[in-house]
Amino acid sequence: MERSVHDRGGWPDDTPIDRSEHQLADWELLTDALVGALGGRGLMNVDEMRRGIESMPPGQYERASYYERWLFSMETNLTEKGVLAPGELDTRVSG
């Protein structure tokens, strides 16, 4: 049975587990808080959030850092819901 890229239980993976500790960067705390804030405002629930992450192209999913996936999901969901116009975030980032 085909497995989605996020469905990792038993996925062949010999990579040693990197056990180093990482303090969350400010932008990561912010990203986490944005997801929570959107949830609190009823704009994106946790199931939509997970579904958004799972919709990432597989290669991108595997290369992305944890909070990059959260950002992708927020942008995907918010664009679908019309809160963001397509490309609006790109424009703001580069502006």
């Binding site: 049975m1 239980g9 939509e48």
Partner: protein
């Protein structure tokens, strides 16, 4: 709640193209209900802007690891437990 603790259940061997919370490694496998939780909103519909109703019963289901992985390298008594929704379960052996 259809199932009770101690009951054998089989996980549907279903591919589900959209969001769902039944990992592939347990699909088609048979385990034992450890615990029946309350019913919760269905993530499969809630993930697409619907309200997730009606709520679906959720169970903690335990599996012998050797039943899940063909070459499980651990010990024969090791187990793995997952929270699974009723609509993914059927009567086991």
């Amino acid at each position: 709640m259809t199932y009770h603790a101690g009951q054998r259940v089989r996980v549907a061997a279903r591919s589900h193209p959209g969001h769902h919370r039944t990992p592939g490694y347990v699909k088609g496998k048979t385990g034992t209900v450890e615990r029946a939780y309350a019913a919760f909103t269905n993530p499969e519909t809630r993930a697409y802007g619907m309200d997730g109703l009606p709520e679906q019963p959720l169970y903690l289901v335990g599996f012998a690891q050797r039943d899940v992985w063909p070459d499980y390298p651990g010990h024969s008594r090791d187990r793995i437990y997952l929270d699974l929704f009723e609509h993914w379960l059927e009567d086991g052996e």
